[in-house]
Subunit: 130 residues, 2 copies
């Protein structure tokens, strides 16, 4: 777990192929984005985009992939996946057939968690100031 | 093309396996969501969620899948995919190995386009009233 508040939490997914893969999970059991209120949706997406920003700053990926699928587990969550041109499936989605063994990527989890905390703190600050 | 404004357009994807599959495409060439301003992002997501709502109302899918990948074409777009328990890949993502031939699904494209236009019109109305 990297971060959480009353409405959602951010976890680092333990995927050997995808260092930095994060999941943002809504705390309450809700199935679709359009089941949330407009304010809840805005909060959820702000957290997702903050995770994207922190991953871009710390890992400089070639692309960010965002997805909310939940066919197996219909509990709202977003995948935030840093993609690299030499990763296991690029340029295909990570759910397609594996193409290659990726080079190992080092990432400082503690630094990422700190960066997220700082950025999400700013987000809360901005909201409070409005 | 189902709908468009100065910032984005909604198209119906011609995928024989996925009736109702829509794509929301940002008009300007931008790579990541966090390259947009907060207002642009909010507008884009409001259109995506309106498409989700219209698809839920007209097709009653078992799940909605949302994804912004763009590894092949780094031009911001969102996939909005109505999923059914007996579709070609369920419960896997549509990019995984095909599992079965789905039953054909009928959809009234003109009605969907009208519904989208009405709902996106309401969205614009709401914004103007604020």
């Amino acid at each position: 777990m990297l971060w959480s508040d009353a409405r959602c939490r951010v976890i680092l997914v333990d995927d050997p192929d995808y260092t930095g893969f994060c999941r943002v999970i809504w705390q309450q059991h809700v199935k679709e984005m359009t089941d949330l209120s407009e304010a809840e949706r805005a909060h959820f997406m702000a957290v997702v985009f903050t995770v994207e920003q922190a991953l871009r700053e710390s890992m400089h990926p070639d692309k960010i992939n965002l997805a909310s699928l939940g066919n197996q587990v219909p509990h709202l969550h977003w995948h935030v996946i840093p993609r690299f041109a030499d990763d296991a499936h690029f340029p295909d989605p990570i759910w397609a057939t594996r193409k290659r063994d990726p080079r190992p990527i080092r990432m400082d989890k503690i630094r990422l968690a700190e960066q997220l905390k700082r950025r999400l703190g700013e987000l809360r600050q901005m909201k409070t100031n409005r």
